[in-house]
């Protein structure tokens, strides 16, 4: 695959093109399972890891953490997968320098696999979140999901100054809190 083709795929993914994501999934699936087969994990676990690796890659591209690649997409996805396999095997003692943003991947892995929130809380938070206004939804998503700082958000959403974003975020959180409490009590 030429550099232009890789760039094209990255650009399409940045536009959240689900067809490109699907084709990426299908192309790399068998090679990944073959490569990962030597680690003592069953196929369900491996597929789970593969799906998370694809999504971590997608997340990096969509949110602008990865804008160009010096290796192939396959190599990149395999590196993420290898990291996740080692995490799963809990045998990770040291990871070498790679083109990957490991801090971000670490957070991603943590959010994707650990029980940071109980199912019942998740239900209430999701229901509360859906009832928020679209502006608040967008702001909270940019901050907590895409990992933008308040200054980034100020530029992204064209706020006048930092304090406006800060108090807007604080209002949104308070509103969300009351909505979640209503869900919990209702």
């Amino acid at each position: 695959m030429s550099k232009t083709q890789v760039q094209h795929i990255l650009d399409r993914l940045k536009q959240e093109d689900s067809q490109v994501l699907a084709s990426l999934y299908k192309t790399n699936r068998t090679p990944f399972l073959k490569f990962a087969n030597k680690y003592n994990l069953n196929e369900d676990d491996l597929l789970d890891i593969y799906q998370d690796s694809i999504l971590a890659f997608y997340d990096n591209v969509r949110f602008g953490k990865l804008t160009q690649l010096d290796c192939s997409i396959k190599t990149y996805i395999f590196s993420i997968g290898k990291f996740m396999i080692f995490k799963k095997l809990k045998a990770l003692s040291k990871v070498d320098d790679t083109p990957i943003d490991f801090k971000r991947l670490e957070t991603y892995y943590h959010e994707a696999t650990s029980e940071t929130i109980s199912d019942i809380d998740l239900k209430h938070f999701n229901a509360g979140f859906k009832k928020l206004g679209s502006q608040c939804q967008e702001l909270l998503k940019l901050f907590y999901y895409q990992g933008l700082s308040l200054t980034d958000i100020q530029n992204e959403l064209n706020y006048d100054n930092y304090n406006v974003v800060k108090s807007q975020k604080s209002r949104c959180l308070k509103h969300l809190k009351s909505l979640v409490e209503k869900e919990q009590n209702g």
């Binding site: 689900s18 994501l21 699907a22 999934y25 299908k26 699936r29 030597k38 680690y39 003592n40 597929l47 799906q51 998370d52 694809i54 999504l55 997608y58 590196s79 290898k82 990291f83 080692f86 095997l89 809990k90 045998a91 990770l92 003692s93 040291k94 990871v95 070498d96 320098d97 790679t98 083109p99 801090k103 959010e111 994707a112 940071t116 929130i117 809380d121 998740l122 938070f125 999701n126 979140f129 909270l140 998503k141 901050f143 907590y144 999901y145 990992g147 933008l148 700082s149 308040l150 800060k166 975020k169 604080s170 959180l173 969300l176 809190k177």
Partner: protein
């Protein structure tokens, strides 16, 4: 810095060392602060899960469509394997397999699960990485001195396990046995794996009684590496 900014910077990963200390201190001493952090952690987790789960279920749909197609193919292979298995069973019927054959049946080179190798350009490669690269390339002869040096430098016990595998692969069976035994004194994450390979090595050396003793130890705990295989192998000896 006010508490709200402190929490915001925590989530953006932008706390300095001093701010981090202040953050930790407030977590312990200020119940309101702690409550707010825990609330925001849940906000983060719920937004993440919501988006992640939606995307993941898209991928699962793709996966299910792929698997259905693969299923027909799979049944063909299962049927073929059953025929071959029956044929082999007839050939060996009444014959207890000898140790060499059992070794060959159960032995596969241990995968490197200790040190992921990701190659990048312009990076100095250390001895440890070199050893693992040689290992993954099945260059066991050259891997042995590399594991030696790496171990002398950093004293990481897992290196001894891979060195033992290299010795076994290069037919230095007796040296492999003592290396596995040395490795096991450290009781690291590869301990039970090391036991399994030690059992196989004894088998290769025709020391069936000792092999059985090691297998019996493996069979004591279902969490041990290759617990099921150890049971089956034991019944075949």
């Amino acid at each position: 810095m006010d508490k709200e900014t402190l929490i915001a910077n925590y989530f953006s990963g932008k706390l300095t060392v001093e701010e981090k200390q202040e953050f930790e201190r407030l977590l312990i001493n200020d119940p309101e602060f702690k409550k707010q952090v825990s609330f925001e952690k849940k906000v983060k987790a719920s937004i993440f899960k919501q988006n992640h789960n939606a995307l993941k279920s898209d991928l699962k749909t793709i996966e299910n469509n792929l698997s259905r197609k693969a299923l027909l193919k799979k049944w063909y292979w299962i049927a073929a394997s059953v025929v071959i298995f029956i044929a082999i069973s007839f050939t060996f019927f009444g014959n207890k397999k000898n140790n060499e054959a059992l070794f060959a049946q159960y032995y596969t080179t241990a995968a490197n699960t200790s040190h992921p190798i990701v190659r990048t350009e312009n990076k100095a490669i250390n001895k440890e990485l070199k050893a693992y690269i040689a290992y993954e390339n099945k260059d066991f002869k050259n891997a042995i001195p590399l594991f030696n040096e790496a171990y002398n430098n950093i004293k990481k016990s897992e290196l001894l396990f891979y060195k033992a595998i290299c010795l076994l692969e290069t037919n230095k069976t007796n040296e492999a046995i003592s290396m596995f035994l040395k490795h096991q004194t450290f009781k690291d994450v590869l301990y039970s794996k090391s036991m399994w390979y030690l059992a196989l090595t004894y088998l290769k050396e025709n020391q069936t009684v000792t092999a059985k003793q090691v297998l019996n130890i493996i069979c004591e705990n279902p969490e041990n590496y290759n617990y099921k295989n150890a049971k089956i192998l034991l019944s075949q000896l």
